[in-house]
């Protein structure tokens, strides 16, 4: 057993394969992976059955039984909830007779984390394929076909139509070039000049952290290794983000050429796209683009690109967890340093960049550094794709210059009576109206592009509880603060929402948040308490109104503890309950 992150042999011809990819394929072909299949796959990949089980149980989209014919997963993002996903779930459950979350039988119904369709919810996945705007009529049709046991392959293709909803295109979305043009110029000027231009352009990673792209590429180029690897992070999992969905669907050629430009700059020979499982409907288009660019000679000679599919794990958007997942393992973030630029995929120096970053890099390679600098701010050059959703008249993609104020974005998307905006998704910031003059930029509110709008009819405690549950569900479970802290936060929020919360609970949440922020192993745990802390800081009334007057109330709910006894005795009369007011 090699330690995690160790350098292992890799030949450029097989980087498209891994244990996880074998499991994903098996899930598709057999509706799950039963024990016999696990043993067979374990033998093929030289690992134990226990490890295969560990991988299967890590990824939400892998089932440990075979024969699941209809797997319906309703998107659980708060914006989908606002669009009626809870009602949709109730309707589907009633019409199909399925119990949500029940993991037996050939047809299954459950909630899943945001699937990247917040602009056209409520949305769901059927056997991994996305469906948007699922109204009551469509839900009834779905239920009918599930009841009949009709294969999803025979369902009308029109049900799976996804809108782009590009509301405001800018230089990145409008930009275009013939295959090979950007790479051709990159090769002509040479890698040193290319890296200088990239640095001069001020391009920073579009994933949200804003690391200077040229610096990352230089570190990889300088690191010793028999191979170098370029990875595109297309695991767009931050709830409320969907801009990569549109970029992958319509601009995959430029993305792949951006990866080829990176390979030219760093000397990489292996290219990998990690496509989130929720975007399986984009796989054929992406494979088509790869074939086109191979035919055009942009990739395939000295640097080729393969696609890996995720399987329902938000944590794999974290770059070292993504690399673990590419290698076929559970998506647990690595200890850093070493960083991927020196020891990444199978131990080789690896660049991991966002979809939008590679496209912007291709445009800089084609047009020179000035192209990006024409818009934006000194620290944040160029434009930013915002995924706008929630309470506004025109949800969709807005390409805006860095430095735009939150108020301007709200005006553009025709939002009214806005109480708050969640900038950067749950891991970002809940912004109150008093701060709408702040700007989208690395200097002010940095964001991966999620922009969720909540008007004054919304209960922000609901919003924050949804986000906290999301993090609890998506925690990999490796480190104590994130694994336990997130679950504890959720319990306190439920206590407050139920009317049993006190001041002490608010202070206790601060205590958990402090530990999660400073002691967690990766960004997920470090940011998972942001929604709660922003709510306490900016919207104390959303909590205070729910607190009972006591300074302290026990977290232990005696009445809830009697639930099992009630179920066993078949009682639910008033005398089988404890009345809180008598206590």
């Amino acid at each position: 057993m090699t330690p995690r992150g160790a350098q292992t042999p890799v030949t450029p011809s097989d980087p498209g394969d891994s244990l996880l990819q074998a499991l994903v394929r098996r899930q598709w072909t057999h509706g799950g992976i039963d024990e016999i299949a696990m043993a067979e796959i374990a033998g093929r990949y030289g690992v134990s059955v226990g490890e295969v089980r560990g991988v299967v149980h890590f990824y939400a989209f892998l089932d440990d039984a075979s024969g699941v014919t209809h797997d319906i997963r309703v998107s659980d993002n708060i914006v989908d909830r606002m669009a009626g996903s809870a009602e949709l779930m109730a309707l589907l459950a009633r019409e199909t007779g399925l119990s949500p979350g029940e993991s037996r039988g050939p047809a299954r119904l459950s909630f899943t984390s945001c699937i990247g369709l917040s602009d056209q919810g409520p949305s769901l996945l059927v056997n991994g394929l996305a469906m948007a705007r699922v109204d009551a009529g469509r839900a009834a049709q779905i239920a009918e076909r599930v009841r009949r046991g009709e294969s999803v392959s025979r369902w009308p293709a029109s049900w799976f139509t996804i809108e782009d909803n590009v509301r405001l295109p800018g230089r990145l979305l409008r930009g275009a070039f013939a295959p090979g043009e950007a790479l051709g110029r990159a090769r002509r000027i040479g890698s040193a000049a290319l890296l200088d231009e990239l640095e001069a352009s001020g391009l920073r990673g579009r994933g949200g952290a804003g690391f200077p792209t040229a610096r990352k590429w230089r570190l990889c180029a300088a690191a010793p290794g028999a191979h170098r690897v370029v990875v595109c992070n297309a695991d767009e999992g931050e709830p409320g983000t969907f801009k990569d969905r549109v970029l992958l669907a319509n601009h995959a050629d430029r993305l792949l050429e951006g990866m080829a430009v990176c390979a030219a700059a760093t000397g990489a020979d292996i290219g990998l796209v990690y496509l989130r499982g929720e975007y399986r409907n984009l796989l054929d288009g992406l494979e088509g683009a790869i074939s086109r660019l191979r035919a055009a000679g942009v990739i395939g000679d000295g640097f080729d690109v393969h696609v890996h599919l995720g399987a329902g794990a938000y944590i794999c958007g974290e770059e070292s967890a993504l690399i673990e997942s590419l290698e076929g393992h559970r998506g647990v973030p690595r200890i850093r340093p070493p960083f991927p630029v020196t020891r990444g995929y199978r131990g080789h120096p690896t660049v991991v960049n966002n979809v939008e970053t590679f496209i912007a890099a291709a445009m800089v390679a084609l047009n020179g550094p000035g192209w990006l600098r024409e818009e934006g701010t000194p620290q944040s050059a160029g434009t930013r794709l915002l995924s706008v959703s929630g309470d506004c008249a025109s949800p969709g993609i807005y390409e805006v210059p860095f430095g735009i104020s939150i108020a301007e974005v709200l005006e553009r998307c025709e939002a009214r009576d806005t109480r708050a905006v969640q900038v950067g998704g749950p891991a970002g910031s809940l912004v109150p109206a008093t701060r709408f003059d702040h700007r989208i930029s690395h200097e002010d509110y940095s964001t991966g592009g999620s922009f969720m709008v909540f008007d004054d009819s919304r209960d922000l405690l609901d919003v924050v509880t949804n986000f906290t549950r999301f993090f609890t569900h998506e925690s990999c479970g490796f480190c104590t603060p994130c694994r336990v802290g997130g679950a504890l936060l959720g319990k306190r929020l439920d206590k407050i929402a139920g009317g049993g919360g006190t001041r002490v609970d608010v202070e206790t949440m601060r205590q958990f948040a402090g530990v999660m922020r400073s002691a967690s192993h990766c960004g997920l745990g470090q940011t998972a308490s942001n929604p709660v802390m922003d709510l306490i800081e900016y919207f104390p009334e959303a909590i205070d109104a729910r607190l009972c007057s006591m300074d302290y109330a026990p977290a232990f709910d005696l009445d809830a503890a009697l639930r099992e006894a009630r179920e066993l005795t078949g009682r639910d009369d008033p005398r089988a309950h404890l009345d809180r007011s008598e206590a």
């Binding site: 226990g50 490890e51 089980r53 104590t480 205590q511």
Partner: protein, 235 residues
Amino acid sequence: MSVLIVDGREIEFEPPATIIEACNKAGVYLPHLCWRPDFSPHGSCRVCTVRANGREVAACITAAEDGMRVENTADDIVEKRKTLLSMLFVEGNHVCPACEKSGNCQLQAVAYYHGVTAPTLTYFYPPRPLDASHPDVVIDLNRCILCELCVRASRQSDGKNVFSIGGRGIDAHLVVNSETGRLGDSELDIDDRAAHICPVGAILPRRGAFQTPIGRRKYDIDPIDVAGDASEGET
């Protein structure tokens, strides 16, 4: 030789070393659970959190640097450790008075060291199974803290691969790498280091319980900063 300044006291160390390695060699106690000097660092329990040059880090996975200032006993750091320890207690089912590891348990000893003597957080009461299928070793997952010392011991010391982690989030749990998932069907042998490394009472060799009576056990005699890590296999 380089110098680390721990709570104002200078200690020398030979780089490369992590903060905890440097402290351990110099005899400065830094509370920890998932770290052992002879295994690769893991960084999961986070009990060794310190402030190094102003930044809070896990000492077991952070390189010591010459002149680095480390705060190990600052009040706020200790408070965070106490919260982390409480988290580990409430996510499982730790009933010290009824546990045969009591007095030899590292979780209990670190908690006492930091003054965590009673639970303050909400218990989860998770239903966790017991695996008594092995003739010589019992697994009680109620007490597992996911430190993965057994996972590492099996792979790095025993040349086997008996344990892995399954599930995720709060449902993450230790799994046994055997066809049936049961310990009795695995390659674990009583002489394996993995059978004895557990710092809490989750993996227990049979027929050794209470040979040393309560009151005369390792941490009954000395606190953990004096007594050191839990002895392997002692119950």
